[in-house]
Every structure is written in C-alpha cells, then in structure tokens.
Symmetry: C2
Subunit: 239 residues, 2 copies
DNA sequence: GCCGTCCCGATTGTATACAGTGATTCGCGA
DNA sequence: TCGCGAATCACTGTATACAATCGGGACGGC
C-alpha cells in the first residue's frame, strides 16, 4: 500500500483551484462571497473555459456552491450540513486511528508535536487565522499517518469544510480547537492505546462542534411564512 | 440532521454522467476502455463542452481516468489502489454501523432483506452482472440507513470503485460477495449488537478483498529491468 | 533490412462568439 | 408619489473555431 496519485493533477486550472482553496483555508474568502467568472478571468489571465473547470472542481469538493444561472459563491454550509460533516469526521477519523497507531513512526509523531507547538504559539500571538489553519493542518497530517490515500482525501475535504463552518458559526472571541487536546491525542497514539485515542478523538471533535453556535437560532427560515411564524391560510402544496 | 442536496445536481451533462456510471456498474463498460470526446458528442448530441464537463465529474469520482492529451478511459485501478479502497471501506462502513443501528427502522431492514433475496435469485440464475450490481446496491442502501449524507456519498464512491476492481481482479467463475454474509449482518443490526455487526462487516469486506486476485502477479512491472528480473550493472539513479 | 526522421491524421486543450436568463432600473401613466 | 411594465445590463450556458500535442506510418539513408 504505497503512494499513488491521490488528487488528479489538474491542468491549467490548478493555480485557480489552489488560490481559492488556500484563501478559504486562510479565511480570506468568507462563506457566501461571490466568485464571478469574469473576475477570475481577469485575475488569472486565462479564458472562461479554464475558470469554469476550476469552479467545477471546487464545487465538487464543496468549497464553492454552484447555483444554475447564478454562478459560484464560497460555500456557506447550513447547520444541518455542519452537523453531518462533524459526525462524518468523528466516524472517519476515529476509524483511521488504529492504522495511524500501527503505522506512525516516532519521528512523525514528534513532527506532529512541533506542529501543535506552532499552533499554540499562533494562539498566544492572537493570530486567529494562522491558528485555525494550523489546527486544520494538524488533523490532516494526523490522518496522513494512516497511509491510506483514500481516507486522506476524504479527511482533507472534511477538514476544509470544517474550517468554512468554523468561519460561519464560531462566536467571535471563542476558541475552536484546543492545542492541549491535540497533545493528549498524540500521547495516546504514541502509547499505542487505541481505545483511549479513539475516545479522545471522539470527545475532541464533539467539543469542536459544541463550540459552534449551531443551536442559537435554528436554521434561518428560508420561507417567508415560516419567518413570520404564520401558516398559509389556503392549502398551497405544503411540501 | 435531515436530507440536503448530497450530489450537486448537474446540468446538461447529467445524462452522460449517469449513462457512463450506470454502464460501469453493470460492467458493460470494462476498465481501460477509451471514451473519446467525439464519440460521446455523437451519442448524446451535445457539444464537446458538455461532454468534457461530464468527463471531469466522472474523473473526480474516480470512475474514469483522465490523462493529459490522451483523453478519458474507464478507470483501471491498480492493486495498490484496490487494497487502499477496501481498507477505506472497512474503516468507513464499520464506523457507520452504530449510526445505522441507532437509526434504522424495522421496515427498512425488511426492505434490505428482500434486496438480499433478489441478490440470491440473481446468483442462482447465473446473472452475474445483475448479482454484482445488487450486492453493491446492498452496501449502498445499508449505509444510507445511517442517515448521514456525507458518509453516504463517500460510501457510494467506494462501492462503485469496488465494482470496477471486481471486474478487473475477480477470477472468472468466482463469487464476490456472499448473500449469506449480508443476511447475518442485517440480523446483527436488527439485534442492535454493535460489536457483532462491526466484526461481521470487517470480516465480510476482508473476505471480498481476499477473493480478488491481488497477489497472483504482484503489480505488473513497469520497468524493463524489473520485468527481466535483472539489476542494472551501472548505478543509474535507483529511485 | 533496420533505424531514424519527417509528416499527417486524430484527438485533446484553449479561446471566443453567441444565446439565454435573471435582476435592476428607467420611464410611463394613474 | 406610487405602481407597473418593459428595456437593459450583467452574467452564465452552450457551441464552435482554432491551436497544440501525440501517435503512427511512410520515406529515405545507412
């Protein structure tokens, strides 16, 4: 089970994909922000064809939303989607832990520890963007130790989406992911304690989700009647 | 946690995507088969633009391979990829079982049992294509009971790829997935026995993988020297 | 006869032109 | 001043034209 091309090496659209993805991870592109094809054409000096390919790939990875006849905007996942993604992460990352424990080398765990130190540094420096990016990076590199390209790809997707959700639903001035929990997790892995590692990962991701304001106002009503808390007088095909 | 659009509703390219995907699931399109843009244009009566969008999506889902300047062919995953996909399935589908047990309704399990009966019928009728398709369908519908759209999407991808791998590496006249194992799995779920269900799923997927001829000839040598079982006389940058 | 080279056909990669769609705005009339 | 409708604009959806690239076959030299 060795490395094989995990992400299809794109062609000319790759720079656009990378730039948008990086901007989302750094939270420079906020959820909901529109991406018109024309603006990207101008920024990257390529034709709309290329831009559209990039947008199609970004949409497939749930980084942008693609509404017919309305173009692309940075995805702004609903609360339901957020809950589903965090549940999926709990399943997936916990399930990957045994492979991580079996295959991780001590020096890789050390490298992970130094990453957590950076994370803590960024936090103390009040560099929230860098800190959030680094804590995502931690999960990515942890799952990478399982040496399964398929799981790694899925985990990458989910972590990226989680960062979007954090940007959307994190109450300002709140913390997202504690570096301490990350360190404990590494220790459990180093000790080859599958049960404890799984328990810590589960609790950690639950805590991350709990810190988000997913319950404050349940799902902004998309329907006017619902928003006004009225029921339509006449039957109008209640879906 | 309700349903939200799990697959991005494509536009005009959807029929092409569906046709190719269905053909792969039915094993009418064999791995490695080439798909030229021109032929799809003719078959579907749309422009190359649309065909390319379909191919891009199919490539993203690892159903077709897209080599630069060489166009598209049905993916023919390597043995390493096959092992990785089956390992990922073990992780993912086992991890999803607790949610399945918690959320599945009795009538849904009954419907699943009738699916297994169909599967058995197809097997007895020597309808191998139908049988393989149905056994894939079983896994898909089982994971759907976890009611997590994200996990469902990933499971769908992996099952589809597994079918491709089965087409590639299944020794002819061999069985792939036993209907009996499927029934036992349903029973364990109905009994809400998480441990047994997980053990059965793990064993079942391991058995599926073991039936494939992944070890017969280890990875066809890509290098001439390796193929002739020689070592280069002079040092030539051994990678 | 064998090997290297050149050319040609087929196929993909990219750009652009044109059509269709949705939303905003402007103008007209009450 | 307000409401309503039509023209307009910005943008995306689709088709097509042109450029680039790769593989194979013919040709000629050795």
């Amino acid at each position: 089970m060795q490395s094989y091309p995990t992400t299809i090496q794109g062609g000319t659209e790759q720079p656009i994909y990378d730039a948008v993805a990086a901007a989302v991870l750094d939270q420079r592109l906020a959820p909901g922000m529109r991406l018109t094809e024309a603006s990207l054409v101008e920024l990257f000096g390529v034709s709309r064809t290329i831009v559209r390919m990039a947008l199609l790939r970004l949409a497939h990875d749930h980084i942008v939303q693609l509404k017919p006849n309305h173009g692309a905007s940075i995805a702004s996942p609903s609360r339901d989607e957020t809950r589903a993604v965090f549940e999926a992460r709990r399943m997936l990352e916990c399930a990957a832990l045994p492979a991580v424990i079996a295959r991780a080398l001590p020096r890789q765990l050390d490298s992970l520890r130094s990453l957590v130190r950076q994370e803590d540094l960024a936090f103390r420096a009040r560099d929230m963007r860098g800190w959030i990016r680094l804590s995502g990076e931690f999960h990515r590199r942890l799952i990478a130790l399982a040496r399964n390209p398929v799981i790694l790809r899925y985990a990458n997707e989910l972590v990226t989406q989680s960062l979007l959700m954090t940007a959307l639903y994190m109450p300002s001035g709140q913390t997202a992911c504690s570096a301490d929990e990350h360190l404990q997790l590494i220790d459990a892995i180093a000790a080859r304690d599958e049960r404890r590692a799984a328990r810590l990962m589960q609790a950690h991701l639950e805590a991350c989700e709990a810190r988000l304001a997913l319950d404050w106002t349940e799902e902004r009503p998309s329907d006017l009647a619902e928003a006004l808390q009225l029921r339509p007088r006449r039957a109008s095909a209640a879906r």
